[in-house]
Subunit: 427 residues, 2 copies
């Protein structure tokens, strides 16, 4: 009994707990070996926020022919050279380009065609003079007092894209503009990475499904819904496997089923030593490499387990909902990003605002702290005020009151009132 | 003929074009009269990113009873008072709290119960001593050398929420943590605002559906897909009505159908004077107040129409895809936010990063410019470099190359190389 307790203390004591940077590096090394999910074909309109499985090359020029970007007159630019107020140039209006047609012939020398924005340039013309820059002498003649350059007010053939250009690289997240451009190129279907399947279960004998009325000593499961929604927010498809009892047979069976059916598994446990050990023991019997991180020097979120069964990541998150959410953001988010086919992300995945801290925050050295923040707007300045939401990590209401969090770095003793801090906003 | 042209010039000339600030104020005044969409009941798990239709009040304390936040021993704090290394206190381990049960009785004076994280405190106890802060004399006795305060390592009843508390206000966007908390309170269904229905159509005789191969003089519609995806990104439900021909009967019929079936209508037109006028004429025949803005001093996006038919907003967006996207972001986004039931938004709806501008950007005074930006990461510093993506507003590929945009204010003549600028990231 005493021996067992001692070994538990070692396993969970300071010696086994890794600094955040080291834990993230270990996770990164293993994620680099994991392939993105396979591909599937979806209709273009359903491609929003999916990740391209293959690069897209332009098969034609866009636009296919030069188009006007203004309402005015299509001309040979050379005809306008030398035009000035003291020496106007006169051009005869000898035709008009109807919208949606490809003009078969163009104006002769010192002639022009009327053209609307979006119209295709007639043969022989290379510029458009804006309506506002002309004086109509009569309905058949215009006067110019300023020259235009070749290409002025014209979107040349291939100006948007040239045939053979790589339009989009593999792994690219499809925003609205990517879908618009693909529509312009005539794509009606696209190959994207399959949505990541995430198996989620909760553990702990005190937990009941949230649909039930908890009996004495029980509370409703909050993590199933919370972690499912966080997964969905990142484009993954969560499946909930319910609550595994704190006994080996039940826990192991749910783990195996979730692993078999998904690309990634999340479980959240009551943060008690017993449950944590059970999770670790069960993972130890799965495929190599097993547990790679058990405990990280962060607050909240310390008792996190990071493991791999073969190439499938498994995350054991703390039972406290706030701790689970912080650990998800730090460790599960990059795993989802990698499995989606996005590597080497440049941009911050969270919105950040700068704000003035409204009270001192202490932090233990050697630990990275994540402090929930409620923002308010300062009346005198166009700036935000950051109010720490203090409360225990079991209290999910603190997350609801919060707009985001500040990070107190491992080597910092804390932050001071009136410091300008970066607040990372929740999605 | 000459007369007609003159009146068009007046309507679209400088006099009719509003500064951005004025256009936004006019939009705001009219939006303030528009009610949010009605409500519907959805299962909790489908509530992500929806907007609460009614405030939520806690009907019970959360947690219902005090719980331990650590593994250790439940004690009466008073028993530990005065404990010090020179004067240890000894407590007898007289019981244990099994997880998921409500202990019926508690330890006597100078006794304690073993308890795991999440366990409910036994009657008579008011604090938990962490395992790591005790010395086990044997399996029935622990030694304390430091006192605990009442409430230490305990989440008290109602610490998360107290019965009667307003947990969430009406209009609140449901993030994962709100759903988690609602699960904890036993909500299985919630009342949310209905998704905003947005009717979208394109105009212009040169436009063909993107599924078709364009004949001579035609190009594929990009705006239908692009604006639909932008709407969906903000939680709205877009419906596409195809391409209306540039003739009054066709345009008016599509407009009426889209208005009847939706909460908001978007059309994008070829930016030619003729089509713009047709849009304005048709809106003039709908319910009051009709067109409130026609032309805004922004680049790109200038020829935007903002109108209301009764309480339904109608936006006529430029035909150039980049201009349409900028105008959507500026004018349609706040309309969607308001109709969703969110008023008085505090937080920025876009992610912002600061970056160092890599070249001078000129801008005409009296006009607000939106310049697309590609970001790169500077090798020497932990900062971003902002590269303007220059290109005509007809070229959607410039949006695809861009990560976001910088804004050059109306009263600014431009920005200089090496200026630190805010880059608003695309969603």
């Amino acid at each position: 009994m005493q021996n067992k307790k001692t070994s538990q203390k070692d396993m969970l004591g300071r010696s086994a707990i890794l600094p955040l940077k080291v834990a993230l590096e270990k996770l990164r090394q293993h994620l680099d070996l994991v392939a993105a999910t396979g591909e599937e074909i979806v209709p273009l309109e359903e491609g929003l926020n999916r990740f391209l499985a293959q690069a897209i090359t332009a098969e034609e020029d866009l636009p296919p022919h030069p188009r006007s970007t203004m309402d005015g007159f299509a001309v040979k630019a050379a005809d306008s050279f030398g035009a000035a107020e003291s020496r106007p140039v006169y051009l005869k209006i000898s035709g008009e380009v109807p919208m949606g047609t490809m003009p078969g012939s163009g104006p002769a020398s010192l002639e022009c065609y009327k053209i609307a924005t979006g119209g295709f340039l007639p043969p022989g013309t290379d510029a458009v003079i804006m309506l506002e820059h002309t004086i109509e002498v009569d309905s058949t003649l215009i006067e110019l007092i300023k020259a235009v350059s070749p290409g002025e007010n014209v979107l040349a053939a291939g100006d948007d894209l040239q045939k053979g250009d790589i339009v989009l690289t593999a792994g690219k997240k499809l925003r609205p503009q990517e879908l618009g451009l693909l529509a312009g190129l005539g794509y009606t279907k696209i190959a994207v990475h399959k949505n990541i399947r995430i198996g989620i279960f909760s553990t702990g004998d005190e937990i009941v499904p949230f649909q039930e009325t908890p009996g004495p000593g029980k509370i409703r499961d909050m993590n199933g819904v919370n972690l499912g929604a966080m997964s969905r927010q990142l484009g993954a498809s969560p499946k909930y496997y319910g609550i595994a009892a704190d006994v080996e047979s039940s826990f192991a069976a749910v783990m195996q089923e979730a692993l078999d059916e998904n690309d990634l598994v999340l479980f959240s446990g009551s943060s008690s030593v017993g449950t944590r050990d059970l999770g670790e023991q069960i993972i130890a019997r799965l495929a190599e490499p097993g547990v790679i991180v058990h405990g990280v020097a962060i607050k909240p979120g310390k008792p996190v387990i990071i493991a791999f069964s073969g190439n499938k990541p498994i995350f054991g998150l703390p039972g406290h909902p706030v701790s689970a959410a912080v650990a998800f953001d730090l460790f599960v988010r990059p795993a989802i990003t990698d499995l989606s086919g996005q590597r080497g992300q440049l941009l911050p995945q969270k919105r950040v605002v700068q704000a003035q801290l409204k009270r001192n925050l202490n932090s233990a050295a050697g630990r990275t702290d994540f402090v929930r923040i409620r923002l308010s707007s300062s009346p005198e300045a166009q700036s935000y005020e950051a109010h720490p939401v203090l409360g225990k990590s079991g209290a999910l209401s603190t997350m609801v009151k919060a707009d985001g969090y500040v990070i107190i770095a491992e080597n910092s003793q804390g932050l001071y009132e009136d410091d300008t801090v970066d607040v990372f906003l929740f999605d």
